[in-house]
């Protein structure tokens, strides 16, 4: 069963009651909310995700709900709840749907230490993955959104889940978070994209959530072996340029972008250096999505990864 198999009434009842069982990648969620924008948003953005109306066990039990007291009504706010507790401060009510996504990111990055979790987008072609680490504003999500609609499949827009045994990337396949100018860019670039309403005045600016491609969801269990680590940087008008970069520096940057590198200690160092050893590492500058797509289409997996037949 997928989320869209549920009637709106049933979906509303589950979210407002015992919780909607939702699978995203390797995680089983139980999601609660009585807020119409969250109910509608989940129904839209997770329409093709596996769902259940009875979840005896969930990796994460989460909710988006108004706080108690006056802020339910006066300059209304919302909270993210994890196992009934709020790990961070409330946000304006208008940010309820993005808050669900941010809360899920937090839930995974803080708890899922059976992976090395890297703050990066990851995409794959066949069984070979690109890791795209990048700070905010680099154009990572725009590039990711473009590529996964042009021959690549989405593993994750935000969190790369790297296996501690061998480094394979496990798909997470959640909505892509677009910000500011990238929202209009993707509206124009894609045919009839499924986009949440825009949410202004967040700490990231204006955000909108783009539903993951159906083909990516169909391959939600297909892991991929890292073959490339590519640091993107959008620059208006720049020709698409792929420049080899230092593996030593890449190692440090990946470590800095890993939420739980310190948790894994020496094993984490060995894992990252083994993965980087096999990968080709680049800086990628681009100013046009079609150019970027063409450049990425020409990527060939390095011999060390291809020799494994890409078997994750």
């Amino acid at each position: 069963m997928i989320v869209s198999d549920l009637s709106p009434a049933r979906r509303t009842a589950l979210l407002g009651g015992t919780g909607l069982g939702l699978r995203t990648g390797p995680f089983f969620l139980r999601v609660h909310s009585r807020l119409p924008e969250v109910i509608d948003g989940v129904g839209m953005l997770y329409a093709d995700n596996p769902a259940a109306d009875d979840v005896p066990f969930a990796d994460f039990d989460v909710a988006v709900a108004p706080p108690p007291g006056l802020r339910r009504w006066y300059r209304p706010q919302v909270r993210f709840l994890f196992d009934g507790r709020s790990p961070f401060l409330p946000l304006p009510r208008a940010q309820a749907l993005p808050l669900l996504e941010w809360g899920l990111n937090w839930s995974i990055s803080v708890h899922a230490h059976h992976y090395m979790i890297i703050h990066a987008a990851t995409i794959a072609r066949d069984d070979f993955a690109v890791i795209l680490p990048a700070p905010p504003g680099s154009g990572k999500s725009t590039l990711c959104a473009g590529l996964v609609h042009r021959g690549w499949r989405l593993l994750s827009d935000e969190l790369a889940l790297m296996s501690l045994d061998g480094g394979a990337i496990t798909p997470l396949v959640r909505p892509i978070s677009l910000k500011n100018e990238s929202i209009a860019i993707m509206r124009a670039y894609l045919d009839d994209p499924v986009l949440s309403p825009e949410c202004a005045d967040t700490t990231k600016g204006t955000v909108a959530l783009l539903k993951a491609p159906l083909e990516s969801l169909r391959q939600i269990d297909r892991k991929a072996m890292p073959a490339w680590v590519i640091f993107p940087q959008y620059e208006a008008g720049a020709p698409a340029t792929m420049t080899p970069r230092s593996k030593a520096n890449t190692c440090l940057e990946i470590g800095d972008n890993a939420f739980n590198y310190s948790v894994h200690g020496a094993a984490g160092f060995r894992l990252l250096t083994d993965v980087i050893d096999r990968c080709d590492c680049f800086d990628f500058r681009y100013g046009d999505l079609d150019d970027a797509v063409t450049t990425f289409a020409r990527l060939e997996p390095p011999a060390a990864v291809a020799a494994r037949d890409g078997r994750p």
């Binding site: 230092s246 593996k247 030593a248 520096n249 190692c251 440090l252 470590g255 310190s262 200690g265 020496a266 160092f269 060995r270 250096t273 980087i276 050893d277």
Partner: protein
């Protein structure tokens, strides 16, 4: 008696090298460091034996000549090694 210095060995440093660039992991601090070949050679020397300042200075000049680096930069690396906990004084 002059202080002698040695790289931390318990647990040992973990190394990886690509094209003459090195990364080293120190399990005591949990830190990962990047360094050039000359600096790495000095630190690897100090993994094998404790050395006083004069011996270290000689190593600095040897590696600077070998890798074409500025001796002042190599000496700065030694100072960094101390600050970062990659080398420690040896009690004898």
């Amino acid at each position: 008696m002059a202080t002698r210095w040695k790289a931390v060995t318990n647990p040992p440093l973990l190394w990886r090298e690509w094209n003459g660039e090195f990364v080293v992991y120190n399990d005591v601090t949990g830190d990962t460091h990047q360094m050039d070949a000359g600096s790495a050679a000095i630190l690897k020397f100090l993994e094998t034996k404790a050395a006083d300042e004069a011996t270290i200075h000689t190593q600095v000049e040897v590696q600077a000549e070998r890798y074409g680096t500025d001796p002042a930069r190599a000496q700065a690396a030694i100072d960094q090694f101390r600050l970062l906990g990659l080398i420690e004084p040896v009690n004898e």
